[in-house]
Symmetry: C2
Subunit: 82 residues, 2 copies
């Protein structure tokens, strides 16, 4: 569902910003990373990598995460500054 | 950068809706699919599959396509109804 990303390119910055937006909203909802992973059907270690911006997250996973975070994918991306 | 998708699940509907939003905006800008592919650095056949909702597009590719389409990823997703 995703691609490994390394380095400090703008690409990794983009992924890091989305990861931060996911983490911020998850904490607002007082969900653990494990709960978010379980509820969105994403492997726990993969979820950690998404939050750290280490994976090129796909639209379907953005959609699953947004649903658990009670928001829309467009809203989540907007919060990440996209 | 993506994952093959098949069937008529909600997942494929989500991808199809983004593909339609990309196509609509591309046509507004009077860009060919080939021009969009070239300018966003995405393989032409892959771009066709994204527009047809046949690939689980990644955030980085959404970002590249949005840039060429002179819009923001969040705007593009919003136009797709997400």
């Amino acid at each position: 569902m995703s691609r490994r990303v390394s380095g400090t390119s703008p690409d990794s910055e983009i992924l890091a910003r989305l990861g931060e937006a996911i983490r911020a909203r998850r904490r607002q909802l007082q969900l653990s990373q494990e709960e978010l992973a379980n509820q969105s059907g994403i492997d726990r270690s993969h979820m950690g990598k998404i939050e750290r911006g280490e994976r090129n997250v796909t639209l379907l996973n953005i959609e699953r995460v947004a649903k658990v975070l009670q928001t829309a994918p467009s809203q989540l991306l907007g919060e990440a500054g996209f």
